[in-house]
Structure formats: structure tokens, C-alpha cells
Amino acid sequence: MSIAKRIACTVVIGAGMLAALAGLLARNSYARQFREAIDARPSLQFPLGTDELGRDRFARLLWGTRVSLILAPAAALITTLLAALIGGSAGYLGGRWERLVLAATDLFLSLPWLFLLLAVRALLPLNTSPYASVFLTFLLLGCLGWANPARIVRSATCTLASSEFILQAKASGVAGLRLFWLQLAPNLRPVLMAQFWIAIPVFILSEANLALLGLGVSEPVPSWGGMLRELENYTAVLHNPAMLAPLAMLVAVVSGLQVLLGTEETSAC
């Protein structure tokens, strides 16, 4: 393992541990308001200061890390499952279904992601609770991100379907779902795992973009994206650079994941 990958691994595991131990490390609740300490600078009581509502920024960062690091992989899992189902069936069944899936993926990929998210997000009821908004935001991300992975899974399934061991299995009388489940699915696992890991940083960034536009996770539930909204106040950032902590955390984790994945743009995105 190279030095860069070791550092990246440490960063990602460190962030995961902070998220897991949020309840132990944070002295205060993420929603508690200290009205006597609004916009406070970093101190022993508040290691990263407080926000404009007097909430402990350190506690919010830890709980926000937990939200982002649990729900982004959950959304990635939904996307991967959808991609496996749609792409796998298209590659395995072929014919009209494959052509339909290819046309649908082309259409989905030509729709700019954020425009689509805004359109679907606007359909959600107005009285959505903050906790429901957390799940709905990541559920939407998971449900709308299937197109690119599905295309890759379909391509991998096509390659596998024409390989010699599948021909041999067919010649031995294995067919239908049994062939798919026993022969194809285990060999698709590395492709699906890669798609799962690639989707995580994409969803973390998408949530951050949505939250900065006021359409992500609702207050008072913290997320990295939601905490970045403080950065709109430039003078406040100059006054208290600790406000940059969520951004530093987000960049470190997303960069770490990218280094670990060795993300390379092998197709025109």
C-alpha cells in the first residue's frame, strides 16, 4: 500500500471512528442552544465555537459526520442494488428489455443530476419532519443515481454471459435464474462493489450541494452540507476560521475515498 493510500485509509477510518463515538465525544446535544454563547469562539467548552443560534459546532460536526457517513453508503447501496437489478437483467436477458434499459440510461444520463434532484425534491410534502428529510434526501440520491452504474453492470454482464464458463454451465443444463444466481451474480460482485464505493463520495458531495441550496437535510439535524451554509458569511469565517472545520472534514474524507478507490475517469463520465 502506498503512503498516499495509508494516509487516506487513516483519514477515512478516523472519520468513521469520530462518527461512531459521536455520542461519547460530544459533550452537548447538537440541537441544544446556548443563548449566552452565540457565535462564540473556540474554547474548552466549545472546541469549535458555537453557531449563530448558540449550538455547539463540535457536537454538530460529529453528529453531521455520522449522518453523512451512514446515509451516503446507504444511498450507494440502493443505487448499487438498482443498478444490479436493471443493468444485470438487461445484460442477461438482452433483446427489447436491453434496448429499453439502454435508452432509459441514456435519457437519465443526459438529464443534469441537480436539476432532476430539485424537480423531485420539490414534490415532497411541505410538512416533512427533519428526520424524514434526512432519509428522503439520501433515498432520492440513491434512487436517482442508478443510470451510470447500471450501464457498467450491463456491460460486465454481457461480457460474462458470453464467457466460456457460462457456455459450459449452459451446456451442463444450468439455465434461467439458477444460472444467473450461481454463475453470473458471484462474478459480478467486484463490479458492484466498485460501483458502491464510487457512489459514496458522489452522494456526500450531492448532499452538500443540495444542503447549501437549502434543499438538503432540514434543521436542526446536522449534516456536513448543512454546516457549510455558515460559510456564506465571509466576515464570520474570517472572525472564526473554525467554521471551516466541516469543509476540511468533507474534503479530507472525499479525497481519502478517491485516493483509496484510485478513481480514474475511464469513460467520458
Partner: protein, 286 residues
């Protein structure tokens, strides 16, 4: 060539129809659709309220609703924004040029920076340059477009450059991988062994064979630039369609939102089709 043009036109037309259908379905399913304010007007008697309700009866059938939506859209009528109290077409006409100029600059400079830096990295074969350019692209890739827009807002620079910075890392990584792969090919090694000048090796033996793939990134750059124009226009207060889409999303103004989404989808498909068409003669010659 004729067949290629027909195929691309069919693609744009199909996208328009499907995007329109999806848009119409979203509008039809939106909360409060088909409810007329007059139904709650106590001054109106029961017959008048029933008449007001009856005016929307035809809209309840999604097929009929879509056909009418399509017919109106073909005549340039994209509906009326209740939140902004203006016709949708009028607002798009005003704002689209602003976004197109930003996209032109953003996608253009993003592509230029990405390809030039990739060419420099591959040709120089310098470890520090490779490290610096990879770190730069990695950092840009790890920042949400909205945060890049904030940095530009702080420095007082135009938001267009934020779009360029959001497009740059994708183009750089894709171009670098393509060029690195081309550099490793046997004919390049043969040319270098024969003492062909480095500039000629780079242009004629490395870049020329991958030119179609490099050009294909133009369509993707437009799509990426469209994606980043929402946060950039919102945070930099640029009056384009990205900002309009955001306002519509906050106000749950679905007619505006679906029209913009469909329009952006058509423009993205058209950009991809244009890139494909531009490369068709080259592919045919090959």
C-alpha cells in the same frame, strides 16, 4: 452521414418527448394540482364553483393533459408560474442567454484547462508536475460546486470561473488517462526510438489518435457545467435559469421546474449529438 444525422435527430426528438412526458407527469402528480382558487370563493354559488371545477376535468386524464401540454409547448406556451406570477416562457427567454454565456465560458475554459494540463503532464513526464496537477484536480473533485462558487464570491470573481473549475477535474482525469494510454502504445515507443522530435510525438502520435475521444468530452462538459450552474448562479446571484430552477424548487413551482429540466435535458442531448456529428466524418474516414 445522412443516417448519422437522422439518428441524432431521432435521439433529440425522443428525449424531448420523454422529458416532456416526465415533466407533465410530475406537474399532474404535484400536490394541489387541478384545484381552482375560485372553488374556495364563498361569494360564488354552487353552480359557479362546479363550473370552475369542470374547467379542470380534462386535465385529470394524464394522456389528454400531456397532449395539451405538448401542444402548448410547441406553440411556445410553457404555462404560468403562480409563485413568480409570470409566464414561464418569458422568464426563460430572459434568463437563458445569461446561463448560456456562463456555460460557454465555464465548459470552454474547464475543457481547455483540463486538456492543456493533461498534455503538459503526459509530455513532460515530470513527477512534481504530475503530483501538483493530480492534487489540484483531486481537490477540485472533492469540493462541492457550491463551495467553489462561495470561494469565487469571496474573491469577487465571476461565477463563470467556478463552473470552469467544476468541469476541469473531470476533463483533466479523463484526458490524462487517454493520453497516458496512448503514450504507452508501441508506435509511440517506435517513434521515440527513431528520434522523432518530442513535440511531433506528442501532437502526431499521442494526441491525434485520441482526438475523437477528447472531442467527445465536450458533450459531457456541457452536462457537467449545467449541473454546476445551479449552485453557482444561486450563490453568485447570477440571474440565469439555474437560479430560476432553485427559486422554483423553493416555491414548489413545478411548471417552471419541469420546463427548465426538460429544456436542459434537450440542450445536453443536443450538445452530445453535435459532438457525435462533428466526429462522424473522422470516424467514417478511419
Amino acid at each position: 452521414m445522412f443516417l448519422v444525422v437522422v439518428r441524432q435527430l431521432r435521439r433529440v426528438l425522443l428525449t424531448t418527448l420523454v422529458a416532456g412526458l416526465l415533466g407533465a407527469t410530475l406537474v399532474r402528480l404535484s400536490p394541489g394540482f387541478g384545484i381552482d382558487e375560485r372553488e374556495m370563493d364563498s361569494r360564488l354559488n354552487r353552480e359557479s364553483q362546479s363550473a370552475a371545477r369542470a374547467e379542470h376535468t380534462g386535465e385529470r386524464n394524464i394522456g389528454a393533459f400531456y397532449l395539451r401540454y405538448l401542444d402548448n409547448a410547441l406553440h411556445g406556451d410553457f404555462g404560468y408560474s403562480l409563485a413568480l406570477n409570470r409566464p414561464v416562457a418569458e422568464m426563460i427567454r430572459e434568463r437563458l442567454p445569461v446561463t448560456l454565456v456562463s456555460l460557454g465560458y465555464g465548459a470552454g475554459f474547464g475543457m481547455l484547462a483540463g486538456i492543456v494540463l493533461a498534455l503538459a503532464t503526459v509530455s513532460a513526464q515530470s513527477v512534481p508536475l504530475n503530483l501538483i496537477s493530480s492534487a489540484m484536480s483531486g481537490l477540485c473533485l472533492s469540493l462541492p460546486a457550491a463551495v467553489i462558487a462561495l470561494f469565487f464570491l469571496w474573491t469577487g470573481a465571476s461565477g463563470r470561473w467556478a463552473i470552469a473549475l467544476a468541469v476541469f477535474p473531470h476533463v483533466y482525469r479523463y484526458s490524462k488517462n487517454l493520453l497516458t494510454e496512448a503514450r504507452r502504445s508501441a508506435h509511440v515507443m517506435a517513434a521515440e526510438a527513431r528520434g522523432v522530435r518530442p513535440a511531433r510525438v506528442l501532437l502526431a502520435h499521442i494526441t491525434a489518435p485520441v482526438l475523437p475521444q477528447l472531442a467527445a468530452v465536450a458533450g459531457v462538459a456541457v452536462s457537467l457545467a449545467f449541473g454546476s450552474c445551479i449552485p453557482v448562479e444561486v450563490l453568485c446571484d447570477s440571474p440565469g435559469i439555474g437560479q430560476l430552477a432553485w427559486k422554483a424548487a423553493l416555491a414548489r413551482d413545478l411548471p417552471v421546474l419541469v420546463t427548465i429540466t426538460a429544456l436542459v435535458a434537450i440542450l445536453s442531448v443536443a450538445a452530445n449529438s453535435f459532438a457525435d456529428l462533428a466526429l462522424a466524418p473522422w470516424r467514417a474516414a478511419k
